[in-house]
């Protein structure tokens, strides 16, 4: 039967699941104040930052793990994780591409990330995208630095920014996601390893897409990157983030923090294609993706989150916008796909404080296999947010009868001039639809991918072109095994 052959084809492997054999320096598992100091020390951080980390660590010790999400997993052994792993051969990150382990460069090539500027200039792939690549805990290469510098744009590892732009880092680090914000954010604040830093000066439109690729390679390591993007008055930046990890039987923790600051009239567009290893069909292994992402919008500023989430065993993630300024705009466009035994609890928070602040939420959840997929979203309108508006649309698509699709919206309104609208629907890929497609000559796998792509269209539209194509393909691969 064709169904079986579909099924067989569907067993195709996670294509980013290879392990790179490189030498690395990895701290033994365990976490205490000394580990925090070691990390800070290793990076030659100023005293204030070491103290800041330790403060976070002390507070983290007193915090319980959040349990309210609609996900279940065995308790994480935080002492069983290594909090630092860096490719060997460089003391403190490579100074140029020549210093990078060629094996590592080949890894990025396999992942389709063009590190070589000349290749990109030749227009082979992703023309006009500057890339920062973070391998385990260390940023290994940032491209196009010169061209960006001409525009005054700073795009570098955050560990470097601590030294090169200390005043900006100190001013904004933790200003959006405080050290004590939540359990995982506190952990990240204590042990964050590296991540990207972006600063767009006043009035500058960043001349190219900025992009960071994250990769977890080493075993038993957690990845705790920290990203800080500051868009000064009237500036604009579009930032892309991609993630992969090798296949490993044990679970790996990824607890990142992303902070966005959009000053008056600035705009930040942040897109994520998250494809961390989801575990195998039985739910063994995979990444725990417990991420805190938040942005603050000042007057007339705009922050737009677009995410395509297909990976990770467990996802706990709510990219949010604090609409502090008057006439500020927050957007959240999300596709979250779960298959096999994946679990996702994801959504957003739109906190309206400024007058006439507006937010739009479009969430598309796709559940297949035996997975659990939840949307959790908060729209809060403060008494100050006169004339605030929110529109939320939240759709679930179920493929097969063994999965779960859930919607948990919270609307809290304290301003009588605000307008909030929330709509949610649930649908399935029906046998009738598949039969219609088959009768018109389209096989089941193609039909499902066509229907799913149609379902996600409103979100894909928000992605930069090349990412949209990638996202579509990713869904196709992730859905393998879902039909037949």
């Amino acid at each position: 039967m064709a169904n079986e052959s579909v099924h067989e084809r569907l067993q195709r492997d996670y294509s980013a699941g290879f392990v790179t054999e490189i030498e690395s320096d990895t701290l033994p598992p365990g976490l205490d104040a000394d580990v925090v100091r070691f990390i800070s020390n290793r990076k030659g951080e100023p005293e204030w930052l070491t103290a800041w980390r330790l403060q976070a660590y002390e507070h983290w010790l007193t915090m319980p793990q959040p349990e309210w999400a609609h996900v279940r997993f065995p308790p994480v052994d935080f002492q069983g994780i290594s909090y630092y792993s860096a490719p060997r051969s460089q003391g403190d990150g490579p100074k140029s591409l020549e210093e990078v382990d060629p094996e590592l460069l080949r890894t990025y090539e396999k992942l389709g990330i063009p590190l070589h500027e000349q290749e990109m200039l030749a227009g082979v792939v992703r023309e006009n995208v500057a890339v920062d690549a973070v391998f385990d805990s260390v940023s290994i290469a940032t491209t196009f630095k010169d061209k960006l510098a001409d525009a005054g744009v700073v795009f570098c590892p955050i560990s470097e920014a601590v030294h090169s732009h200390p005043e900006i880092v100190r001013k904004y680090l933790g200003s959006v996601v405080p050290q004590k914000d939540n359990f995982y954010a506190a952990l990240n604040s204590a042990v964050f390893s590296d991540g990207s830093f972006v600063y767009i000066p006043e009035g500058v439109r960043c001349p190219m897409e900025l992009s960071t690729y994250f990769r977890i390679n080493a075993q038993n390591t957690g990845q705790f990157e920290r990203t800080l993007i500051v868009a000064d008055r009237g500036s604009y930046v579009s930032y892309l983030e991609g993630c992969t990890a090798p296949m490993r039987d044990e679970n790996q923790l990824h607890a990142a923090v992303v902070e966005l600051v959009a000053l008056d009239d600035a705009e930040i567009k942040y897109s994520t294609v998250q494809n961390w290893y989801p575990g195998d069909a039985e739910g063994r292994g995979g990444i725990y993706n417990f991420v805190t992402k938040r942005g603050t919008c000042h007057n007339r500023a705009k922050i737009s989150w677009t995410q395509v989430e297909t990976g990770s065993a467990v996802t706990w993630k709510y990219p949010s916008v604090v609409l502090r300024g008057d006439d500020s705009v927050g957007e959240f466009y999300s596709v979250a796909l779960t298959n096999n035994r994946q679990q996702a609890d994801t959504g957003t928070k739109m906190i309206h404080m400024g007058k006439r602040s507006r937010s739009t939420i479009v969430s598309k959840g796709i559940s297949a296999g035996r997975s659990e997929n939840s949307y959790r979203g908060l729209v809060r309108v403060s008494p100050t947010a006169a004339g605030a508006r929110n529109y939320t649309q939240c759709d679930s698509l179920l493929i097969g009868g063994a999965c779960g699709a859930h919607t948990f919206p919270y609307i809290e309104n304290k301003n009588a001039t605000a307008t909030v609208e929330h709509e949610a629907t649930t649908s399935k890929v029906s046998d009738e639809q598949l039969f219609l497609c088959a009768q018109r000559g389209i096989d089941a796998e193609k039909a499902v991918s066509m229907i799913v792509n149609g379902f996600c269209k409103e979100v894909f539209r928000e992605l930069p072109m090349e990412f949209a194509v990638e996202a579509g393909k990713l869904l196709e691969v992730s859905l393998e095994g879902a039909v037949g």
Binding site: M1, A2, S427, S430, D431, E432, Q433, F435, L436, C437, A438, Q439, R440, G441, I442, D443, K446, M450, I451, N453, G454, F455, C456, K457
Partner: protein, 260 residues
């Protein structure tokens, strides 16, 4: 000229002693029927006689189990084929209740279907420009507005629009054999004429094609004149004749058959 006399033409569909059941209940009980190239056949019959089951079995809908007999389509064993293979072989079912596929535009759907067909036939698919040209031309023949192509497949279409959309698909996919399942149901007079013209043109353009219409009412037959009319009752063909048979049925009702 009756098709029954024209035994020289190529037999496109040969159904021999077909038995089929749904949910363990026998519906088709030894149905035999041959449709030759260039001809239009109609199957009529009371509700529950097995008309729609026949259409679904021929198209390979899951849930319909063939328990006996054989079907050859253009010389091949139809029953051994997957639904999409049957489509690629040139079998087209116009659905009684066309299903909606929200989010997938009509245009995208048709393009995917045509590409799949071209691939199966090892032909080069049309370029996007060629496809668009063909699509627009065909749509305007059927009086379909341009926005119709951008909307989700059948999404929010009226009954008439859905049926016209079926004919649009038929014209573009250019099958050898069209199977129309109650295509007249839910159509107003104007839509009926459009659909009727579409089907007539389908056979007139190419005499290697054939049509099998399944209908409860005689009214579609005013627009598409069949060469042969069959009457289906209790899972078998109980009577065959020319178009006169349809008129007799209309006049005297199906009860007349049981007495006959």
């Amino acid at each position: 000229m009756s098709d029954m006399a024209n035994t020289a033409a190529h037999p496109l569909l040969e159904i021999d002693d077909l038995h089929a059941e749904v949910d363990g209940k026998a519906i088709l009980k030894g149905l035999s029927l041959t449709v030759r190239a260039g001809s239009v056949h109609a199957i009529m019959g009371p509700n529950g006689s097995g008309k729609s089951t026949l259409a679904n079995v021929l198209a390979g809908k899951p849930g319909y189990e063939v328990t006996g007999g054989s079907v050859r389509f253009d010389g091949q064993d139809l029953l051994a084929m997957e639904p999409e293979e049957r489509a690629h072989a040139g079998l087209f079912l116009a659905f009684q209740y066309p299903v909606e596929i929200p989010g997938v535009s009509n245009m995208e759907f048709l393009k995917t279907a045509m590409e799949a067909a071209a691939k199966a036939r090892q032909e080069t698919p049309l370029t996007t420009a060629e496809f668009m040209k063909k699509l627009r031309g065909t749509a305007s023949e059927l009086d379909l507005a341009a926005d119709f192509l951008k909307r989700g497949v059948n999404e929010g279409f009226s009954g008439g629009e859905k049926k016209r959309n079926e004919i649009l698909q038929m014209k573009l996919l250019a099958p050898k054999f069209a199977l129309l399942d109650e295509t007249d149901s839910g159509l107003d007079i104007d839509a009926l004429a459009v659909v009727g013209n579409g089907v007539n043109a389908f056979v007139d353009e190419d005499r290697t094609r054939a049509v099998l219409m399944i209908t409860h009412y005689q009214r579609l037959l005013n627009h598409i004149v069949p060469d042969v009319v069959h009457v289906l009752a209790d899972g078998r063909i109980v009577e065959s004749g020319d178009k006169q048979l349809a008129l007799t049925l209309e006049e005297r009702g199906y009860a007349w058959l049981k007495r006959a």
